[in-house]
Symmetry: D2
Subunit: 340 residues, 4 copies
């Protein structure tokens, strides 16, 4: 059975596991007060060229979005996101569970447009009764987006400018950042560190067993952040677990080295399917491909490939997602192409 | 440097790591919908002799307490705990962050007394204005307690009876359950499953990298529990991570096999220190020992042993904690005894 | 200066004030345990022909929406509302402050359409990942709507049917119910009681100093509702205050008697303005009229009339609201017509 | 039937009602943007001699405590209160519903002792793991206390000093402030304004139908306070209602003029009962008297007087509360004394 269901179906990249095993019997203090955490943070700051940054390791993506947004917003503020933003759709109301509203702007190709954002904020402040409304307090984007699309450097710069104009921190969800950085893009990790106020580097979907590295890019970690992390049940006793994995992933560029092939294979798959006449829900340059399949093809497909159902396209077609990961092999892609 | 600071300073028990490595390249679905999760749950239900139980794997202890308490309480209810209960003292207000009050009863030897509990609840219902007060909605105990002490089977039975009398679910926090089950005790895992409504088996402090196994003992998992777990940011994409570790720990009794020696070594340490004239803050039958040390001894001690500061005892003495774990060796205990 | 800014600019209807004065020196117990509360509840149940209903008096509209929605939803649920629903736009995130998401469906003429609602809910349950999403747990509508429009009896019946099909309580916000019941409509108070699960009768905007009467239509008041009201700071010590006003308003049909003239005057105003060639943002049959005015006319208007700015219509026009109330006189409307 | 159950059993002081009637037909803007609100605020600032203060009118006591505490605390902080503090006991968990813990210190005679407070805070900061605990972020006291007792000026000064030392705002709940200011005390309204950071002047229990006036004593109202008030459902549309009552109460010293007789009558009652040999649960200098009555006396008493049950004293005695108010007459007290 071929596995293209998602990018979190396997364990960890072998080098990550090796490093866990190698350091296993070194005792260290808990809760992130250990040398592995310090080392991983330094490597990330170096890789992102942001020496004044502060790095904190959390365990999962929804948790990270919840903690970052909750700790950055004032009580009377909400977070602006595109209508398809993960925080708005598939986090079971985690943001609202912390008392904050997700303020939505219709997405364009999975992304938040800077002009749409400016208009939203200007309309808000122009409203005579905005004291009775939720203030736009920060902005959330995901890169790659939920549809696999990427912001260009110019798009990020324009979003960043709007955010700074209205004093709204810009937060970039990088759950799949490895597959974004290694795609056909003009955006580097250093660009992200420069243009956002906080972002996270996804581990779970990019080679780790778990773990997301939150980067406050300019010494702007909220006061008593650790206490607020603990308060949300998001602190783990063995802080080493998340940190060690990033320490491995940011040694010798492993993070990008293992994500790059996944993107190449996704592009090979995309181009192969295009050649066969498949249509796509939208054009994705990263490891997730959203294709439109005739319903009549699905039973056979299901017997050979694990994929994700996304949505009904029309009465006779369905959108499915095929995802590659660091664990995907060229043979698997070739076999998938031969089946489809 | 000797390490007796806590029971979460090392990585995972080698057999746990081995199992992670061995299964690493088998792809499975995410979020707990995988065969490893199913297998681990079955093994736990067998070990606890509770075939109708439902098992869910979470990542950390505070998270587990927060999720279980939040999902079991009605909005107008709080959780009753002893004054030294972890949820009341060292979770940064995680319970309150979900909108619930922790209702406290003074502890006795680190434990909640059944008679004290009954009196608390009776006084509440006798109060003419109890509609303006937080209702006692469930009861939280930890076993071993924060001070390493254990409930006897009779004490658990009496607590359980009060809880059932007043329709309050009884929740047992087993962060260190392995060290409780393998101490000098008349309480078995099956007793706990029979006498409580929900409990968790601690992984993080008992041989895993992370992970706590929540057991709803009689099919009483709250409706849409997974959605509420997700809503609190407590669901991890690679559900396999937590489950695989418990699958290993509950194969061939590994969980108790690796905790038992830690307890034995703690008792050896306790008895050795008693023989040397040391006083203890209280009598603990498990892997945590709380000793009273002259302040003048601390500088030398710190140069040779990592321990935990607990509290000032008096002007000239300090209470420190020495903890053993599955990773502690007899040589380390002997060396510690020779130092102290 | 003419006052058409809103329907809460004056004090209370004189008969309401009189009743407060008349009963002022009769001591009663607090928190709603008094004969006035009991009497007002009975009168409301009679007026709405719902003998099994439970009535509770709260103080303000946002508070009422917050308390009703928070106490009816389960933790994993959100409330479905039209995109222009008051709970979604002008309550400063009160619903989210209780941890719940407002799930929006685009409005049609200020209203939630039953077919749109059914499609929303069906799409939700058809989504393979809906366990990771906020469940639609109840439905909120306002009648009159935020734009002054009214549901027909048939529209309410169809909404009610969808709600019952999917076990979602239907909640009707009647902040301006008096102006809805006395407009050109086929919907009676008894219809509302029959077709909804909970609704509230607005006092603040319909002749009272404050106060909203929540009606759980079929004995479905949530368990320990008073405790949850208290928990949200929504209980007042002198429960008599809210109750006495409703006791007066529901004596001899005062509530409708004082609202009916306001609606008539609003229609007179509407028809008069139409005759003068004014355009309307939408057609409203109740006491709020939304007219489109040339920006150049506004300075003079502001010097003679207090009105509400609603929004920019285009570069040269603005939408303003003119509201009548129980306190508006025919002379005032005539004078306004002569000015406009 | 004599009424000594509480101080909120009657309507409003007649002068308050008169003022409501007199201003009833003057239309003003809503939500506190009106001349009555401005006038009342100025009168309060003058009475408290705090020209830089900001005044906001809310509706009830629990609501006020909830809003003030929620808006002043940071997310990782809790409020310190005495164990008998209203926020800890009889507000149904309103503080916790906003996500904050109430941190308790045992009370002394109903009050929080400055030395106990200092020790609590010092112990907190001395704890090595205080990052995992709820930070003491502000201090709550009530004056008069829940038991009717009063802080001396010196006690307030010492509490204020501790609060300033540790940067914790001091909040004084003055639900019954009128009865505190007019008792045998060396504390003036100006003292309170000088020594606290925020306090509220109780209206509901001191002559108003509803309403509490929150005073931020030195321009320290939290940013966007109105939005946060709205978010908690605590803003009323007719802001005039609360404001007008305080406008009346702070005209010509009415507030103290009507509370002083209530205190005098309570002292007459106290002294009369002492002369008859009654014992008191504690010595109260204000309008609430807590007496110990033989259970055998209660049935007869209940047939003649409405009083409040407080608690069982011992097997044969009960503590009851007798409260006077601005509405109590000397005849009523004489009759009560003749009965008891």
């Amino acid at each position: 059975m071929l596995f293209f269901e998602n990018d979190y179906g396997y364990g960890a990249h072998p080098k990550v596991l090796e490093y866990l095993a190698q350091t296993n019997m070194e005792p260290v203090s808990g809760y992130g007060n250990d040398k592995f955490t310090a080392s991983a943070a330094e490597k990330i700051k170096a890789a992102a060229d942001c020496p004044d940054a502060q790095v904190y390791f959390l365990t999962g993506g929804t948790q990270t979005n919840m903690v970052v947004i909750d700790t950055l917003l004032r009580p009377y503020e909400g977070v602006v996101a595109s209508s398809c933003g993960h925080v708005n759709t598939h986090e079971a109301g985690a943001i609202e569970s912390t008392g904050h509203k997700v303020l939505t702007v219709p997405h364009k190709n999975g992304k938040l447009d800077a002009d749409d954002l400016r208009e939203y904020v200007q309309t808000f402040y122009a409203d005579a009764s905005h004291d009775h409304m939720v203030f736009p307090g920060m902005v959330y984007i995901s890169h790659p987006s939920e549809y696999g699309t990427l912001y260009t450097k110019n798009e990020l710069e324009r979003l960043s400018a709007v955010c700074r104009e209205f004093s709204m921190p810009l937060f970039l969800d990088g759950a799949r950042l490895g597959y974004g950085l290694t795609a056909d893009t003009d955006v580097t990790l250093a660009d992200i560190a420069k243009l956002t106020d906080v972002f996270y580097i996804g581990g779970t979907k990019c080679g780790a067993l778990c773990g997301e590295a939150v980067v406050f890019t300019h010494g702007n970690m909220p006061k008593q952040f650790v206490t607020m992390v603990k308060r949300r049940g998001a602190m783990i006793a063995k802080g080493r677990l998340n940190a060690l994995q990033f320490d491995a992933l940011f040694t010798d560029g492993l993070y990008e080295k293992i994500c790059a092939p996944a993107v190449k294979l996704a592009i090979k798959l995309r181009d192969g399917l295009k050649a066969k006449g498949y249509r796509f829900a939208l054009e994705s340059p990263t490891n997730q491909q959203f294709i439109i399949v005739e319903n009549s093809r699905l039973p056979e497909l299901q017997s050979k490939v694990v994929y994700s159902f996304i949505e009904k396209y029309d009465a006779e077609h369905t959108v499915i997602r095929l995802a590659t990961s660091w664990a995907t092999t060229e043979e698997q892609v070739d076999e998938l192409l031969s089946i489809l």
